[in-house]
């Protein structure tokens, strides 16, 4: 009887045609591209309008604004995919446990630090110089994923699972504790090894920046360049997002995750090992966060034990922006937030004539979005209206 059910189940999932799988996997990607193009266009339009408003007083402002526009869009994409890959960890855990894994930013940080440790090892053993860039990237990401994923599962087992039935605030406070502990443990380890507090992230030479095209603005043409590290970041994150979509939407394991997220008791009645699924969710979220950390370190060049906190908060904002618990939403939210931040960081100082520094106020912009979203559309961009459970 049981075997029959199993056979039926596997045959029913086998009946899914290839095109259907393609649609479930790439459908969200299409949605993501839509939001990328949409938010880039909308924000560029805002920039142009603002420039036109000020053109009377400062005639060169439109040229200056347009000159940096392509770079800002690339920057926004990198930031966006960074937030998206971290936000996935938040949103998956929230979807399954309805719990904000506050320590997720630190999981991201650990990925970056581990990547830096690998690069230090390679550099000191002399392997780094002769290494192909692609192999290095894959190695760093893989190590980051393994360590961060294992760490996330351990944290869940030690600090969250004992508290699963407790009132909501209890695991949250525990998670805050985990976040602080991880920061200082990493600091302790880094300052007592050759890594140091601000660890350098050595990379092989990825070649010169790619010149995409040239813009003819005013006196001389402005080249639009794409740094190879930014390209690596974008490509790697897109691949990861597609892989995650496949896992969650097209496999049996993914079905189990979705079932657990929808209704934990019923899922456990259907023979799903709920504890395993929860651990798996932490593993996937942690691995994605670790990969994002390694990529971030590679892109920025240095890592430190406190670097995870602010990106973690912003990724949470991204998850809420997209609709928490919603995987596509987390990606969309991350990208939209990344664009917004990049635009604020680059243009605030230009449009206020240097009175406000954009980099500092970009943080404020992100948190303001969090508050506004929570007030006016708590379900997020892609979320459905939810009623509070009693």
């Amino acid at each position: 009887m049981a075997a029959e059910v199993k056979a039926q189940a596997s045959s029913s999932s086998g009946q899914r045609s290839f095109t259907e799988v393609l649609r479930t996997v790439f459908g969200p990607v299409g949605q993501l591209i839509l939001f990328i193009v949409g938010s880039a266009l909308a924000l560029s339009l805002v920039v142009v309008l603002l420039a036109l408003l000020q053109i009377g007083a400062r005639p060169d402002i439109l040229t200056r604004a347009l000159t940096i526009l392509p770079q800002v869009i690339i920057d926004g994409l990198v930031r966006g995919f960074l937030f998206a890959s971290i936000a996935l960890g938040y949103t998956m855990v929230y979807g399954v446990l309805e719990f904000i894994n506050f320590a997720h930013g630190e999981i991201f940080m650990v990925g970056g630090v581990v990547g830096a440790a690998v690069s230090l090892f390679l550099a000191s053993s002399g392997l780094l110089a002769g290494m192909p860039g692609l192999l290095f990237v894959i190695l760093v990401i893989a190590v980051g994923m393994v360590v961060s994923g294992a760490l996330a599962v351990t944290v869940e087992r030690v600090a969250y699972r004992p508290l699963r039935g407790a009132p909501r605030l209890v695991p949250l406070i525990s998670a805050i504790g985990v976040s602080l502990v991880l920061q200082d443990l990493m600091r302790l380890m880094m300052t007592n090894t050759p890594l140091g507090f601000n660890a350098r992230f050595n990379t092989p030479d990825f070649g010169p920046p790619i010149r995409l095209f040239e813009m003819n603005l005013g006196a001389r043409p402005v080249p639009v360049i794409l740094p190879p590290k930014a390209l690596i970041f974008i490509v790697a994150s897109v691949l990861m997002l597609i892989a995650l979509n496949y896992l969650v939407n097209a496999t049996r394991l993914g079905k189990a995750i979705r079932a657990t997220a929808q209704d934990m008791p019923t899922a456990s009645l259907m023979g799903i090992n709920v504890n395993q699924i929860v651990a798996l969710t932490f593993l996937i979220g942690g691995a994605l966060g670790g990969a994002a950390g390694a990529l971030f370190g590679l892109n920025v060049g240095t890592v430190n034990p406190y670097m995870g906190f602010i990106p973690g908060l912003k990724a949470f904002t991204a998850a809420v922006l997209g609709g928490i618990g919603n995987i596509t939403g987390a990606m969309v939210g991350g990208v939209v937030l990344g664009f917004l931040e990049a635009f604020v960081a680059s243009y605030l100082s230009l449009f206020t004539n240097g009175a406000f520094s954009g980099a500092a106020y970009a943080d404020i912009a992100a948190f303001s979005i969090l508050i506004l979203i929570l007030i006016f559309r708590p379900s997020g961009l892609l979320g459905e209206a939810t009623t509070q459970k009693v």
Binding site: F99, I173, S174, L180, N192, F309, F356, I364, T387, Q388
Partner: protein
């Protein structure tokens, strides 16, 4: 079996003898006298004095827990805190500073306790209100104000006293201002949003030196005014104590903060027993049931925010004046976590618990960790394998993080729990499996992965 039973009863018998009846009075007086004598005759800063100082503070706890006449308890504590400790402070400035810091944190923790402990709203940006109060006095009492508008001049230092009340009002105002947008949020969202708002205040303090220099940015504000020593003549001439200005200021801030803490304890204690306090408790336990009982949810939550924030605002004024210097890192997230761990350690909702937690964490921060650091450094010199870059005073995050995790796992109700809070937490502990607690399926309320 019998031996354990008799040993337990022996311990009980000793405890009863020492905390009640004539022997109790004798013990307490003797304890206080010995500690005071040790402190006053040997005021150097070293490990022995540390231990005696901790024992001295422990006596306050013992007196509180004992079954003696209330008048006696109050008199003994008053003599210790208002007489022995200040006199000791004139001999050794370090310990009275620790006591003053502890006082500041007691007031802050009690304020946070109103929000977190009574109303059950986890506020991770509490230090923002403290910062608002501190910057209020910092900007208005120094020439910083002339940088904002050359026509304005700093307020005279005597205005410190009314400014404590103004800090109270400004804190309450900001509490309502920041509370309004987040009221509709559920517990965990609220925590993150308040954290974000706390960061916003810090970022603003860090960056509002341009276009107009309001906060002097990351350099902070220095030479903040202290109130004039109006009582200096009385102390020096009438009492005949020849204390330096520095010592007088220490005494002044110690007594000012002692007084404020007393007021805060009374106010918080009265609030807790009042209709408002019970409304907060109802909201904490079950929001929906509270609404059904006719409790004005929004007003009560805002009130909790305002009360908590107002204490922080007033303490900010005092803190800025005492420290003479403030800068944005003084008000970072770690400070909020620090105060939160005081509340959690002592017991959310429990006033004596929170006071105990605040004193314990402050002692840990200022006395115990530096001592451990010294011990480690000695051990290091003796050749023990301790990492060179490990200084326990620099690893507060590790300490507070571990504290939070361990408290949540093993004793979520705190060391000296509030009775009702304890019941609430234990009721949930008794449910064996997470599945029992999971939500009831409801087609409208699915937050699944899509």
């Amino acid at each position: 079996m019998t031996t354990t039973a008799s040993s337990v009863s022996a311990w009980e018998r000793i405890k009863t003898a020492l905390t009640s009846g004539p022997s109790g009075y004798g013990f307490m007086v003797l304890y206080a006298a010995v500690c005071s004598w040790l402190l006053l005759t040997n005021p150097r800063t070293n490990l022995n004095t540390d231990i005696v100082f901790v024992l001295f503070l422990l006596l306050v706890l013992l007196v509180y827990r004992s079954q003696l006449v209330l008048g006696f308890k109050l008199a003994l504590v008053a003599v210790m805190l208002a007489l022995v400790l200040p006199i000791f402070g004139t001999l050794n400035p370090f310990y009275i500073d620790v006591a003053t810091q502890a006082g500041i944190f007691i007031a802050l923790a009690l304020g946070l306790n109103v929000v977190v402990g009574f109303a059950g709203l986890l506020d991770l940006g509490y230090v923002a209100f403290f910062a608002v109060g501190a910057y209020l006095w910092g900007i208005l009492s120094t020439p910083q104000i002339t940088l904002i508008n050359p026509a304005w001049s700093p307020v005279p230092p005597i205005m410190f006293y009314p400014f404590i009340l103004i800090g109270l009002a400004v804190g309450a105002f900001f509490g309502v201002l920041l509370g309004l947008p987040v009221l509709r949020l559920r517990g965990d969202y609220l925590a993150i949003v308040t954290l974000g708002l706390g960061e916003v205040i810090r970022v603003l303090a860090n960056n509002l030196d341009r276009p107009i220099n309001i906060t002097n940015g990351s350099q902070g504000i220095r030479d903040i005014e202290r109130p004039p020593l109006i009582f200096a003549g009385f102390v020096r001439d009438t009492l005949g104590w020849q204390l330096s200005d520095q010592q007088l200021y220490q005494q002044f801030f110690y007594f000012a903060i002692l007084l404020i803490v007393l007021l805060v304890v009374v106010v918080v204690g009265r609030l807790k027993g009042s209709r408002i306090g019970r409304a907060w408790e109802a909201i904490r336990e079950d929001e929906t049931a509270a609404i059904a009982q006719g409790i004005p949810l929004v007003r009560m939550k805002l009130l909790a925010f305002a009360v908590g924030a107002s204490f922080a605002g007033a303490m900010g004024v005092v803190f800025a004046s005492k420290q003479l210097f403030i800068n944005p890192p003084t008000f970072d997230l770690l400070r909020s976590i620090n105060i939160l761990s005081m509340v959690i350690l002592g017991g959310m909702g429990s006033i004596p618990g929170v006071i105990f937690g605040a004193v314990l964490v402050t002692l840990l921060d200022l006395q115990i960790l530096p001592r451990i650091a010294n011990v480690l450094r000695d051990a290091q010199r003796a050749g023990l394998p301790i990492p060179a870059a490990f200084d326990p005073t620099q690893y507060q995050r590790l300490l507070f993080g571990l504290l939070l995790i361990l408290m949540m796992i093993f004793r979520p109700q705190g060391i000296m729990p509030d009775e009702r809070r304890k019941e609430e937490l234990q009721e949930h502990d008794s449910i064996p499996d997470a599945i029992e607690h999971a939500k009831i399926p409801d087609t409208e309320s699915e937050v699944g992965l899509k």
